[in-house]
Symmetry: C2
Subunit: 293 residues, 2 copies
């Protein structure tokens, strides 16, 4: 599975690169900052889930590609702003200097803004390329809603507000569902919508993606405790060092592993209820959730 | 004219308020920060230009309203991020404390992100409300492009990079065209597109808006030199105090006034070439450009 995933990741890398801005003009610096962070070694999980959900429902045309680039741009902008001194104040991510260290804080703020904005610019290019496809409007609504105040940003806000305080299970679930879950939901839903899935199927895909997002995040918590820095590619034990409440620190490793298993099984059983070509998507979900880094 | 403008501004205020988020939920704080800045006394020039251009081309339905709210959200996010300590570091705007002073820097960054994102969420609601109107896709493309890296953000980047350095006429024009002009272009173009104007007419509207944006910005420079703090509602002489190169400091008051006049006349002559109900729009442009504050 790892080989097949790496192969597809390389294809996705090429698609994303097609949509990155050229580094030229008076405003060249902003393109450098955008591209630096876009190419800093992400796993491309979100565009991969989008593309595979699209394939699952029989999608064939290139209509999905601008949306794949867009979701990765939104994910990347959130990392740039997350790392800022006024937020998590991180100098490194994935072993590379963060944008504000390389380009300065002002350009990093603007590069984040620019990637968020560019995501909608790139995605809305689909209206021109495929003027007769009315699903694009529905996909655009999901692309705008899930990363927003009732989704990713909302989770980020609650995370910021509650940092250092003891939090409830409800609050933790809210943060996970929004901060991690929302973009995974968007990815899979947009894949389904653009492939022509009906509302009921898109609703089921949203439910699958919610489970996948939660399982993915809890696995992240587990790895923060059990992995080593080399395997993980980032310092382990950072959650407990930062007094961060996570599912794993609140419920322990055993219960966390059980919950990942439960969520995975639930997601896969929902997937089974949908008709489509599910072997690769099925394997991808299992691989992603049970990953070692 | 002033009374008629104030009357329409009050109507626009009511439209914008319809689209502001409710202050509730775990993430309540972000809505407070968004609404605080949205309601901090803007002149609503952009939604007004959008609505009047829409009327000029015979637009009638409420389809324009979410886009009016969206353009004001994008303008407002740019102010929040502009005022941040890492950018212009302003504690006050329009006599009110800026978002990062009231809510903290982390929430201010997120509130800016949230408003930019929410603009697309609100505007994309039009796809659901008017599924048969294919102009919405074209309007969305303009809403995504003009505030972005080749528009407002690009101008902001160049402004940041060149601050404190002597700049050329070309560079100044680039900054004005992007930083001030782009959102005015977007406003008027979206008004035209949603009213069903053809590509040629939209192109002319873009040209008018470019002149209007430049004239508006040069008038701003002039007022910074000639007005008094009470009339202007903000400190005068701030440009020369900050060693900021402006059209007025580079070319002098006489030439600046001539250029405002030339741009205004050019814009109005382009407007005359278009067929539509142009009296109010004509008067609005004159009033806006020749304003005293």
């Amino acid at each position: 599975m790892k080989n097949r995933i790496n192969e597809r990741a390389a294809q996705i890398e090429a698609i994303i690169k097609k949509y990155l801005p050229k580094e030229e003009g008076y405003e060249k610096k902003i393109y450098e900052a955008m591209n630096y962070t876009m190419l800093a070694g992400g796993k491309r999980i979100r565009p991969m889930l989008m593309q595979e959900t699209y394939r699952f429902f029989g999608g064939g045309l290139e209509i999905i590609e601008p949306f794949m680039a867009a979701i990765e741009m939104i994910h990347t902008y959130s990392l740039i702003h997350d790392d800022l001194p006024a937020m998590d104040n991180d100098d490194y991510r994935r072993g590379k200097k963060t944008a504000h260290i390389v380009f300065g804080e002002d350009i990093a703020i603007l590069a984040g803004d620019a990637l968020l904005n560019y995501a909608f610019e790139v995605a809305s290019g689909a209206f021109e390329a495929y003027p007769e496809r009315h699903e694009i409007g529905r996909a655009m609504m999901v692309l705008a809603k899930k990363p927003g105040v009732k989704g990713m940003i909302g989770g980020q806000v609650v995370d910021v507000l509650l940092t250092g305080r003891k939090i409830s299970d409800d609050e933790l679930l809210y943060i996970y569902k929004c901060k991690t879950g929302a973009l995974i939901e968007a990815s899979m839903m947009i894949g389904a919508i653009l492939a022509g899935a009906d509302d009921e199927a898109v609703g089921k895909v949203e439910r699958i993606a919610l489970d996948v997002g939660l399982a993915f995040q809890i696995q992240d918590d587990i790895l923060d405790i059990t992995s080593d820095t080399e395997t993980l590619g980032k310092p382990v034990g950072s959650d407990s060092k930062n007094n961060k409440y996570t599912y794993a620190t609140m419920h322990g490793l055993d219960e966390s592993r059980k919950e990942v298993k439960r969520l995975t099984e639930e997601a896969l059983s929902y997937l089974d209820e949908l008709s489509g070509e599910n072997q690769f998507l099925n394997d991808l979900l299992i691989y992603m959730i049970n990953r070692e880094n």
